[in-house]
């Protein structure tokens, strides 16, 4: 059988299948005039009906592409100074072996030299105005602002998602324990949640960040500590939400049915309660993501977040603060305004999506 015949045959088979399918479909739709739509579909449709949530989704998509694909295409690096170098800077050691005359022994010997090509640029192009080479110019250290925006986006978006994920896990765990078991478990967990809710948000984060500062944590690792801090002080809200939801769900008929069928506790929690709490949590998490990005950039702005030389949106704006930043504030808006716009766009996008999801999950709330 030739290749062509094979293809034709396959196509025929496919057509037959397709026809059978469409017949089946027609039959169903004839007998059942109402179209069957799954709840998930309905949510999606309601979500996409709202223009604002669409705007949010598109914005977020662009942001992700910008931060994660952008750096691959950018000719500049995150910490690459723009300047005139005498040599190409490289952090890898070079090794050359030369034959040298040794005076002591009076013989030629092989000597190995290891050297690093490290050269500071003798002229750094800092604070240059926007050009084709540097779309937003360079900042006070000679770094390309546009590229650093991308890396800053990586930090903010990744950190936001990691923290909210961790918060949801912790919050779900304690919230469902508290809501499901009630009694003293509930009592203890809720008092702890109360304590966390009474802690002042930013000042306590600053205290924690300052404490970590004094430990001398290396710059690269610091962001993980930051995540841990943000999660530690942020899970309480979700735990409380989950508990409230579960208290409501526990009284519903299907839980009674689950009880009557003799399901295990584990199964009841994971199969029947958590899926029903999920919509609220997803909404809360999406709205919370914006908040986390704001907090992270505020900490970075205060110099307690992502450390120099790594890039963060907050840090880029902090170059305007103080007497030294007056010049940048006044004359180089291209250094700090784009970062601010990025923060606003990202937070706004998450808020729009969160709002859209809430309306989509719960149509009652809207009308």
């Amino acid at each position: 059988m030739s290749e062509f015949e094979k293809e034709v045959k396959e196509e025929k088979e496919l057509n037959v299948l397709e026809e059978a399918k469409s017949e089946l479909y027609e039959e169903v739709s004839l007998s059942d005039s109402a179209k069957v739509v799954s709840p998930g579909r309905m949510v999606l449709r309601r979500f996409f009906r709202s223009k604002l949530s669409l705007v949010g989704l598109v914005t977020l998509f662009i942001m992700f592409a910008f931060s994660f694909i952008g750096p691959l295409l950018s000719p500049w690096g995150e910490v690459e100074m723009t300047g005139d170098y005498k040599w190409v800077t490289s952090i890898l050691p070079h090794q050359i072996v030369v034959t040298e005359f040794n005076e002591e022994t009076g013989m030629d010997e092989q000597v190995t030299y290891i050297f690093f090509e490290v050269s500071d640029p003798y002229k750094v192009y800092s604070k240059t105005l926007p050009s084709w080479e540097h779309i937003f110019g360079t900042d006070q250290y000679g770094y390309d602002v546009f590229t650093r925006l991308m890396y800053g986006g990586r930090v903010s978006l990744l950190l936001g998602f990691m923290v909210i994920f961790a918060e949801v896990i912790v919050g779900l765990f304690f919230g469902s324990l508290s809501g499901y078991f009630g009694g003293w478990v509930d009592m203890v967990i809720m008092r702890v949640v109360d304590v966390f809710n009474c802690l002042p948000g930013l000042p306590i984060l600053m205290l924690a960040a300052a404490v970590i500062d004094s430990w001398g944590v290396p710059a690269r690792v610091r962001i993980y500590y930051l995540m841990a801090i943000l999660t530690f002080f942020g899970w309480a809200g979700i735990a409380r939400l989950v508990r409230g939801q579960i208290l409501g769900i526990r009284e519903l008929e299907y839980m009674l049915a689950a009880e009557a069928t003799g399901l295990s506790t584990r199964r009841k929690i994971f199969k029947h309660i958590i899926p029903n709490v999920m919509p609220q949590i997803i909404v809360q998490a999406t709205l919370g993501l914006g908040g986390i990005i704001l907090t992270e950039s505020t900490l970075s702005y205060l110099g307690l977040g992502v450390p120099f030389p790594y890039s963060a949106w907050g840090t880029m704006i902090s170059s305007t603060s103080g007497a030294a930043g007056r010049d940048i504030l006044q004359n180089y808006p291209a250094i700090w305004v784009p970062a601010g716009v990025c923060i606003v766009l990202a937070v706004l996008a998450f808020n729009f999506i969160g709002d859209g999801l809430r309306d989509a999950f719960d149509p009652k709330m809207r009308r």
């Binding site: 109360d194 304590v195 009474c198 600053m206 404490v211 603060s321 504030l329 808006p333 700090w336 606003v344």
Partner: protein
């Protein structure tokens, strides 16, 4: 009637007990944060250089005294009790970097104990300054309170009417634009918005002063001059917080507008104005009362970022400087202070809720 009062008193007592418990937890977390640091404790770190230079041992003595206050000489748990004991006795520790004049004066005496007189026969005095963190909080929060008070009043005056209009004309042009603007306000980072305002209105247009609270060269009366300086910071505070309140008002108003008694009011033939402002709005106020919980810490706790950007010598800026300069005694006290405010605010808002809405019953005993 008397039963209600008894119930109320019972409720308040129960809540107060709970508040004490919560503050206890808060203090554990705050103390724990400063104690988990490995190596030297914060007081030793702070005075390490001075102790090395000092030969008389005076500094070492003072350091020991300070460490005693925070229970740093004892193991963590014991140390916490020592610290708590000092806190309860009003000894909140001394700030490393701030001192304020207490308004009292010390009469100068010479070696023999005779008063030192100036040429006119008046006894010479020296103002006493204190670096007790409580004194500093009291002193610095004054200006912060004034700013926050004006901002809060403005915020309510703008947000509530806007929220109501937005709800009564749901899905109209006003509603959409107000919703989007509110969302933007929520998503704006204060440091970016502040920098933007400074750049536009202070540097470019020159309408408002750049920083601080007074300008000796302005030629305006002090009060007007102060207000002039406060326009931008207050704008930041108002714009950033208006969105949340507005959305809250809108949601509540929408809920109330769907109630049966509104339909009744309309059916009676009342004017729309009367329906909205007399029947609907008053009922919207009930949930608004809960917002008071958030206002109290905001009123006295200062605005950390905004004060820093506009160089206003309030408690927020003090907290920022304290964190950046490692003034841990002040930061600890500030966090505790804010937590106390939050606890009181929550308590007040719950009580207010019961006062405003007679349907809410306060339960003193077990629920």
């Amino acid at each position: 009637m008397s039963l209600i009062i008894v119930n109320m008193i019972k409720y308040v007592i129960k809540r107060l007990a709970l508040s004490v418990l919560i503050l206890f937890g808060v203090s554990i977390i705050i103390y724990g944060l400063v104690r988990i640091k490995p190596g030297l404790d914060f007081i030793q770190t702070k005075f390490y250089a001075q102790m090395q230079l000092d030969s008389t041992g005076e500094v070492a003595l003072m350091v020991e005294e300070q460490r005693e206050l925070y229970g740093l000489t004892a193991p963590v748990f014991e140390g916490y009790l020592v610290w708590l004991n000092h806190i309860l006795h009003g000894e909140w520790g001394n700030s490393f970097i701030f001192s304020v004049s207490t308004g009292e004066v010390e009469y100068l005496v010479d070696d023999q104990g005779n008063p030192v007189l100036d040429s006119e026969g008046n006894q010479l005095t020296k103002p006493i300054s204190s670096s007790n963190v409580l004194d500093i909080i009291k002193d610095k929060s004054r200006i912060s309170f004034i700013i926050a008070l004006i901002a809060t009043i403005l915020q309510f005056a703008i947000a509530i009417p806007l929220g109501i209009t937005s709800a009564t004309k749901q899905y109209g042009v006003v509603d959409y634009s107000v919703t989007v603007l509110a969302m933007m306000g929520i998503s704006l980072p204060s440091f970016f918005f502040g920098a933007l305002l400074l750049r536009i209105f202070s540097i470019q247009l020159g309408w408002f002063p750049y920083a601080g609270l007074t300008d000796p060269n302005s030629g305006l009366p002090v009060f007007i001059d102060n207000l002039h300086h406060l326009v931008l910071p207050i704008t930041v505070l108002v714009i950033l917080s208006i969105g949340g309140l507005m959305r809250y008002t809108r949601t509540n108003m929408l809920e109330v507008l769907n109630a049966d008694y509104i339909r009744t009011a309309r059916a009676k033939g009342l004017s729309e104005h009367k329906v909205i402002y007399k029947h609907a709005f008053r009922n919207t106020l009930i949930p608004l009362v809960t917002i008071f919980a958030g206002i109290l810490p905001g009123l006295f706790g200062g605005a950390l970022i905004t004060e820093t950007i506009f160089s206003i010598d309030g408690i927020g800026q003090a907290a920022y400087r304290a964190v950046t300069q490692g003034d841990i005694p002040f930061v600890m006290a500030y966090n505790l202070f804010l937590s106390v405010l939050t606890v009181i605010g929550t308590l007040l808002s719950d009580l207010m809720y019961a006062v405003v809405d007679p349907r809410v019953k306060l339960v003193g005993g077990k629920k």
